[in-house]
Structures are given as structure tokens and as C-alpha cells.
Amino acid sequence: MNFSRKTKISSEIPTSSMPDIIFMLLIFFMVTTVLREYSGLPVNIPKAEKIEKLKGKRHTAHIWISKEGLVSINDRLFAVQDVAKIMYEKRVSDPQLVVSLKADEEAKMELISSIHEELREADALKLNYSTKTLVR
């Protein structure tokens, strides 16, 4: 007697739709990654141990402070007195705003203090001193 199977079951994984799946993945990653919006100033940010992560970039505004004392927001240089005005506008459009302060290690505290005052005036009270992770 012939016991051979009559219908052959194909044992191959169908690969014809593989490119579609991969392209979909690719497009997903491309859409979800938020590109860097502003290049800012060349700063060497300090290191710290007990750091916390900011939740996403959508509610973050950056202020760059170089060691020369330049203040940059949205890739434009501002005088310290104008920080309150621009941050207030940002704060109004996004109440969840967190300000990330990217200041250089060698920046002076008098400038940082003035920025504090400006932020208080703008009612942007959530501040984050941007730092690198300190590796011991």
C-alpha cells in the first residue's frame, strides 16, 4: 500500500511580504523619532550623579548659555532681559513647559541667577539643569 501523503504542506515561511513589514517598521521609526530642532551653542555641560530624565522633547524648551555669557533660545541670541518675554510666550502656548538649561561649566553664576529671575518672571518655574551622567 502506498501511504505517501497526497497533499504537500509547504514548510516555508512566506517571505514575499517581508519587505512590506520591514518598510513599515522603517517608516514607523522615521515618523516617531523627533529630530533635534535647534543646534544651540557649543557648550560643555557639567556632570552630575543624581539626574532625572525629562519626559520627551515636546514639552521642553532649551536655553543655551555659553561660557562667554551668550544666551541662545531657538537658535537666536538674546539679551538676558529679553528671556522673560520669550519664555512667557512659550509658557503660554504650552503650560506643561519644562525649561532645560544647557549652560557651560564655566558660565558664571551671576548670569545663571539672572536667568532664574527671568524664568520666575515668565512663570516658567520647572527648570532642569542639563547635565551629563557622572561616571565614577
Binding site: 517571505t15 514575499s16 517581508m18 519587505p19 520591514i22 518598510f23 517598521l25 522603517l26 521609526f29 522615521m30 523619532t33 533635534r36 555641560i45 557639567p46 552630575a48 550623579e49 543624581k50 539626574i51 532625572e52 530624565k53 525629562l54 522633547k57 521642553t60 532649551h62 548659555i65 519644562v98 532645560s100 538649561l101 549652560a103 557651560d104 561649566e105 564655566e106 558660565a107 558664571k108 553664576m109 551671576e110 545663571i112 541667577s113 539672572s114 532664574h116 529671575e117 524664568l119 520666575r120 518672571e121 512663570d123 518655574l125 520647572k126 527648570l127 532642569n128 539643569y129 542639563s130 547635565t131 551622567t133 557622572l134
Partner: protein
């Protein structure tokens, strides 16, 4: 002799398509740097000078000079020691407020180091005095 060149159907070979797509995927995954913003969080007090009287025993003064040297309640202290001292003081008095005062010419990195130490010590109440 007539060459029999028959048109065999013009198809793009799709066998390697998956490989190409994978390559693109890997390329994008590698080149995108996920730089999450991280740092020391702090909440500033609202604008307007509201003076709150605080008992002297609830205040720990922390002064930073322009060289980055720290004076913790009149006592010269190494920066790395601050978290230990503040922790000890906090366990004795949970209402303790650390008042950080920095000289206008203090480097930002020294200030961040001090704030970091306070964060390590779990000091929630940090007062930052205006340097100017």
C-alpha cells in the same frame, strides 16, 4: 541563423528587497542618536517677593565662593562631603531648608556639583539665593 530572443517578462527581482529594507532600517536605527534630556530638576519659586520667616535652626547655609570652595554653616567643607552632612542634618531635622548662596563669579559647574550633592542627600527644600 535567427537568434530566438524571446522576451521573458520584465520583472524586478524582489528576493533581495527584504535585505535592502533591513539594511535601511539598521542604518536609520544606528544613525539616530536618542539623546534624552537629563539633568537636575528644580522648581523655582513664583515671582514676587514673598518673604517667609523661617526659624534659624531650620536653615542650613551653604555658601560657594568664586573658587568653588564650600562653606557649610560656617564650616569649610569638601564638596563630596556635603551629601553626608546634609543627610545627617536632615535626619535630625526634617524641616531643614538648605539655602545655597553662590558668589557671582562662581563657575556653574561648582554650583551644579553642590546641587547634585543636595539631591543625593534627598534634600527637597533648597533655596537658591540670588547671586547678584
Amino acid at each position: 541563423m535567427i537568434r530566438n530572443r524571446r522576451f521573458k517578462g520584465g520583472e524586478i527581482p524582489t528576493g533581495s528587497m527584504a535585505d535592502i529594507a533591513f539594511l535601511l532600517l539598521v542604518f536609520f536605527l544606528v544613525t539616530t542618536t536618542i539623546d534624552t534630556d537629563k539633568g537636575l530638576g528644580i522648581i523655582l519659586p513664583p515671582a514676587g517677593d514673598v518673604e517667609i520667616e523661617i526659624k534659624k535652626k531650620n536653615i542650613l547655609n551653604c555658601l560657594i565662593n568664586s573658587q568653588g570652595k564650600v562653606l557649610l554653616d560656617e564650616e569649610p567643607t569638601e564638596v563630596e562631603q556635603i551629601n553626608r552632612i546634609v543627610k545627617k542634618r536632615l535626619s535630625k531635622n526634617p524641616l531643614l531648608i538648605v539655602s545655597v548662596k553662590a558668589h557671582p563669579k562662581t563657575a556653574y559647574s561648582d554650583y551644579v556639583r553642590v546641587i547634585d550633592q543636595l539631591k543625593i542627600a534627598n534634600a527637597k527644600k533648597i533655596s537658591i539665593a540670588n547671586s547678584n
